[in-house]
């Protein structure tokens, strides 16, 4: 493998793993926010307690997942400069702007507010606390938007002109409303909600079918998951179909490669596209059947059906990897469609260095992914009893003494 292939493998592997975690982040955080809002609004104390437990349970699952999204995202940010310095040399004036704005608009707020949400239990007023998780949700989608503006520019460059071999920004508005970014955002958001809905429904169905003390918690989660999963998986197909006319206009070669057995990457593209559509249609059909069966808990009384919901959990993840492989591999050999090829963009870094870093990063990421999914699975199986989010250490009787100690200590240090 040459430097270009290594850089590609490293980039594809890192983005792929980043995406597997980010999609769940984007799929879960709105559901957590809905549960938290309902908990804060409910007056009946018993019901409120259940909703709050549900918030903390799904919230912790979301936060465990978040850890890998964040650390892989950091690497993504560095990788453009590490491996693709030709990209910034040619398109830095244009391509860098959405990435800079993503960090200032979305990531800064998302990270700060998530930290406050995690540690804000019992410290912040309920209204403020709920607002924080909605801000986290909003900024997660904002970051999706900005990254897709950058990616949309690679697929279908708009709003620029090339002078002296370098791209210059001419129409920022056109870049922000690039149809290749907006349609992708719609499709990605719906894919994420499908993933989140199916996961919540699958875990809840599993516990209900197996028998649990937490009937009420899992029942309300099952409803939420199935409703969101049904609606999202229906529309993900609709928006997916809308992408074909755009591709015909902007990247006809990508679609031709699907039909032409001699085209480069033909097999990969067909598998990716077929996998995505097959999964999309299947998930959509199953959730649509499951929806009316929520009535009187028919869905979980008939065990095989309940376990089918659980078995469905991995498939939206696979579909969305397929979608990205189609989008990115189908773009070859261009990095920026019609302007810059991948070969032109790769950094002047030696093959040896790239091989070592590629091996190191992919090993670490695969290990992290495996560990994180183990933690998620174990936590999902143990249920709400295992929640640590929002708990303080048990208070000893001498708590008042402890506080006095603290104050006395501060006095001593001050004087």
């Amino acid at each position: 493998m040459g430097p270009t292939d290594l850089a590609r493998l490293q980039f594809a592997g890192t983005t792929g793993i980043h995406w597997l975690f980010v999609i769940l982040t984007m799929g879960l955080v709105p559901l957590v926010a809905v549960l938290h809002t309902r908990a804060a609004r409910t007056r009946d104390p018993a019901r409120r307690a259940v909703l709050e437990r549900a918030t903390r349970f799904w919230g912790q699952l979301y936060v465990i997942n978040y850890a890998v999204g964040i650390v892989t995202g950091l690497v993504m940010e560095f990788q453009f400069g590490l491996s693709w310095s030709g990209l910034s040399a040619f398109a830095g004036n244009v391509f860098g702007a959405p990435l800079a704005l993503e960090t200032l608009i979305a990531f800064f707020a998302e990270s700060t507010f998530l930290g406050m949400w995690i540690f804000g239990w019992g410290r912040l007023r309920a209204g403020v606390h709920v607002t924080l998780i909605w801000l986290v949700a909003l900024t997660a989608y904002a970051s999706g938007y900005w990254i897709l503006v950058a990616n949309g520019f690679m697929q279908h460059p708009v709003g620029y002109e090339v002078r002296d071999g370098v791209a210059h920004l001419t129409d920022f508005g056109a870049m922000l409303t690039n149809p290749s970014a907006l349609l992708a955002l719609g499709h990605v958001a719906l894919a994420a909600l499908t993933t989140g809905g199916v996961l919540v429904a699958g875990i809840s169905a599993f516990h209900l079918a197996r028998g649990t003390r937490e009937t009420e918690l899992y029942r309300l989660s099952l409803r939420l998951g199935v409703v969101v999963g049904t609606i999202a998986s229906f529309f993900v197909i609709i928006v997916g179909d809308f992408q074909f006319p755009l591709l015909e206009r902007t990247q006809p070669a990508k679609l031709d490669a699907l039909e032409d057995p001699d085209a480069p990457w033909h097999g990969v593209l067909v598998t990716a596209m077929d996998g995505m559509t097959l999964i999309g249609n299947t998930v959509s059909t199953i959730t649509l059947i499951a929806l009316p069966l929520l009535w009187r808990d028919w869905l979980v009384r008939f065990k095989p059906l309940a376990y089918l919901m659980t078995a469905m959990i991995p498939f939206p993840f696979l579909a969305s990897i397929g979608g990205w492989v189609f989008r990115e591999v189908g773009r070859q050999p261009w990095l920026i469609h019609g302007e810059l090829t991948v070969d032109e963009a790769v950094s002047h870094v030696s093959t040896g260095t790239l091989a070592v870093s590629c091996a190191a990063f992919l090993t670490v990421f695969l290990a992290l992914a495996a560990v994180n999914w183990t933690l998620i699975t174990r936590f999902a199986l143990r249920g709400p009893d295992a929640v640590q989010l929002g708990t303080t250490d048990p208070l000893p009787d001498d708590d008042a003494d402890h506080l006095r100690d603290l104050e006395a200590y501060d006095m001593k240090v001050t004087t």
Binding site: A100, L101, G115, H348
Partner: protein
């Protein structure tokens, strides 16, 4: 001020903010295994207390680096590619350290079993020490000038990294962040933790002072930094040393832990203006003269102006909600604090 210098200042602010905030995180991570810092039998609880002190700020601190890289790409695209790919091995190691450390901070609390705990604890410490070391190496390499090849690309080999001056910078950075982390623990830890941290900080500050003099001596001997403005840089280095000494003095009970921490923040920040002012107008200086200047590194005017329209609104908002975060979680950690990491 020109547009470019506005963005250079903002870039410096983001990197400086990250050194101050991310810096104490790395220090705290390194100190989570303080030998003898915990009473026998209390190891686990002690370590959790240490991490709890920084926990509510951790995500908000790390993001300063993310923003730094984002703005580097957006406003200085012609620096970004050269800098990161030129110093590839050091930045790759840095990022790997950040990944392991970030995962360890966030997932350690989820582990069950002593074995898993030991592995996460080791990664926690490594994830603090490795980024600190790499930043020191980066500062060393950049102040010395990076070799440039005939095709215009920058490139470092092992002998660049293993140069005594560069290694001395690495060592100084590790000690600086460790001392800064200990000073933070003296401010925010519960009484027992804070007392221990205060003593550790004083020891570490003395070591940092010694280590920070080393690169200066090597430079005087002609085997160190090659700065465009050695005078300015010496003044800033003197300030840095003074800040370290002042922190140590304040921690000896001659001031509040808050004041000691404020001065320690200045010490963690100073390497950024030192590098920036020392090499100006170069943002990436080549060995033996030349390099990339601010003007060459910056994006074109339309892009900078477009970004500025967002920047003037966003930066004050960001500072405001970050300050709100510090305010909400002010005070020493204690029993009533939600724990999670």
């Amino acid at each position: 001020m020109t547009l470019e210098s506005v963005w250079l200042a903002l870039l410096g602010l983001l990197l400086g903010g990250y050194f101050v905030l991310g810096g104490y995180d790395y220090g705290v991570q390194m100190l989570a295994l303080r030998p003898g810092g915990e009473k026998a039998g209390h190891e686990k609880a002690g370590q959790r207390d240490t991490v709890s002190a920084m926990a509510p700020f951790f995500l908000g601190n790390e993001v300063w680096l993310v923003a730094f890289v984002g703005v580097l790409f957006g406003a200085f695209p012609h620096l970004e590619g050269h800098l990161l790919s030129g110093l590839y091995p050091v930045f790759a190691a840095l990022v790997l350290g950040l990944v392991l450390g970030g995962a360890a901070v966030q997932l350690r609390g989820r582990a069950r079993g002593a074995g898993a705990h030991r592995v996460w604890s080791a990664l926690l410490v490594l994830g603090g020490a490795l980024p600190a070391l790499c930043w020191g190496l980066v500062l060393g390499l950049l102040t010395r000038g990076v070799p440039r090849r005939a095709d215009g690309s920058f490139h470092i080999g092992p002998d660049e990294v293993l140069h005594p001056y560069v290694l001395a910078c690495g060592l100084a950075a590790v000690l600086l962040f460790a001392a800064h982390g200990a000073t933070f623990l003296a401010l925010r830890g519960g009484p027992e933790l804070a007392d221990g941290a205060r003593r550790t900080a004083r020891t570490l500050l003395r070591a940092t002072l010694a280590a920070a003099v080393l690169p200066a001596l090597l430079t005087l001997a002609g085997a160190g930094a090659a700065l465009r403005h050695p005078g300015t840089a010496s003044v800033l280095l003197a300030l840095l040393l003074a800040a370290l000494a002042a922190t140590r003095w304040l921690l000896a009970g001659r001031g509040t832990p808050g004041r000691a921490f404020a001065v320690s923040c200045c010490a963690a920040l100073l390497p950024v203006p030192l590098l920036g002012a020392g090499q100006y107008p170069y943002v990436l200086a080549a060995r033996g003269g030349g390099g990339i200047t601010v003007g060459e590194a910056a994006a074109d005017e339309v892009t900078l102006r477009t970004l500025l329209a967002f920047g003037v609104v966003l930066v004050p908002v960001i500072l405001a909600y970050q300050a709100w975060n510090w305010w909400v979680f002010r005070g020493r950690t204690g029993l009533r604090h939600p724990r999670y990491f």
